[in-house]
Subunit: 284 residues, 2 copies
């Protein structure tokens, strides 16, 4: 594996270090940047990892700067990795024209349709290539948990449901819970995956729950003042599918909270503690 | 007093509410936006206020989105007000040309020189007009503390040192401690205050300490990997003036920390607890 990387920044934060790293991704065939927060405990040995998958329009920086997560992650001894949300530096037809498709909107799938299939393999990037790279470079154990927001909440649920046993725990903030049934998801999946909707189901949390391959508990927070609630996120559908298929779900609905990072920062500590518990860390 | 205002946003955060408010400022003769975080305790009565003065290029939004302060402020029962850093919507000659003078760089002084004296009265804005406005509109007690970063750290120190007894406590992150002796300050003060350096001293923390009007303790955090440390911030000068004039100072130097919000978020809880203690709040 080519582990040649460039450190863009190494920033002291809460006694740990926030790294911003550029590297060449083989599966995406472009250069990518990711952020990695290493807690102080990483100076004394390998630490477990929380994957954070971000939402539409985000880069590696949104969670780092706005979530307020590193205070508790430092205390818990949890590394946090924030990948970018799509291939970058490419210039496919229409790639940069809309906020919900193309750049900033990779949807954590492996595209099968031209021209997207030349680069848009975000599922393989976040589940294979990047994990191998960061473990080769940093003191990270094999233990992983995964979370994310909106498009990244969808990504977190799908990564976990497709790979039973891989992540110690999975959670999501305001996930796109049923992408094959909402405008954002249908636009993205038809573009990346083509017209056969049967292919789409392999990246749809509700469909994967119905399929029943995994029974891993899901922990989901959803704001009730979220502008995208009914049309794009569909938590009621998630809840109903979980009930129907006896899939363990803890879905918390929060009155007045919106879709922004002010919502995420309000509840991120609960998620960090949840993952720390499943990763066997002391509660901090 | 004209208290006509427009609520731009009202965002649920950590059980409290973050307000973004637009209003017409008489002392600045322009429309301004500020942010106010109200903790849950504000639902049951008046709460004390922490003023946060931001640094060069900032608006009311930087601290709100990046400091991670509202978690503990909510718990402590502390309101936080973030004013903007200069008049806005004006178009004076050269006002928007540099990051360290004019818009985004009001330096919390009352300008005496044309054309700046038509609008740039940020000292009166943050110490008089805005306090009166927010107390008229929101459940805030008279109790106040003040803090800030860089140019805003300078502002916080100067507001407190010029008004003995007003603020229960004052703190700063990486303040411009001796503006009359550094390039940022000399550029700003000569533009806003003119060529008579005697006038500058009334807005210089080190000069005010030497003058001895106030003996209020100062709590200052400074990162040692801060790019602006020696040339612009001059904490050694602050320390030496405090020693010379027997002014109480707690100056913490933090190895590896830079000038960014990653530094602020790492130590903001210490500042919030410091102010809460001086404001008589329970330690949270």
């Amino acid at each position: 594996m080519n582990t040649s990387t460039e450190t863009l920044a190494r920033i002291r934060c809460h006694g740990g270090w926030l790294h911003r790293i550029r590297h060449h991704s083989s599966v995406l065939d472009c250069d990518m940047v990711f952020a990695l927060f290493l807690p102080p405990a990483a100076e004394n040995g390998d630490v477990p990892t929380l994957w954070w998958l971000s939402g539409l329009t985000c880069t590696d920086e949104n969670f780092s700067s706005k979530a307020g997560a590193f205070r508790l992650a430092a205390k818990l001894g949890l590394a946090v990795i924030c990948p970018d949300t799509s291939p970058r530096g490419t210039d496919l037809p229409g790639e940069h024209e809309s906020y919900d498709f193309g750049s900033g909107a990779g949807f954590y799938v492996n595209a099968t349709q031209a021209p997207w299939n030349a680069h848009y393999h975000m599922y393989d990037y976040v589940t294979k290539e990047l994990p191998a790279l960061v473990r080769a470079l940093f003191p990270l154990s094999d233990a992983e948990a995964i979370s994310g927001h909106s498009m990244g909440g969808h990504g977190a649920l799908v990564c976990a449901l497709r790979q039973p046993g891989r992540y110690a725990s999975v959670s999501a903030f305001a996930p796109i819970a049923h992408p094959t049934g909402c405008p954002w998801g249908r636009k993205a999946f038809s573009g990346y995956l083509g017209d056969n909707e049967a292919d789409w189901a392999t990246y749809d949390a509700c469909a994967l729950i119905a399929e029943g391959r995994s029974k891993q508990p899901l922990f989901v927070d959803q704001g009730l003042a979220d502008n995208f609630l009914a049309e794009q996120l569909m938590p009621d559908m998630l809840e109903s599918v979980c009930q129907q298929h006896d899939h363990p779900l803890s879905l918390r609905r929060h009155e007045d909270y919106d879709h922004s990072y002010y919502f995420i920062t309000s509840f991120i500590d609960d998620h960090l503690r949840y993952h720390a518990r499943h990763l066997g860390l002391s509660p901090g």
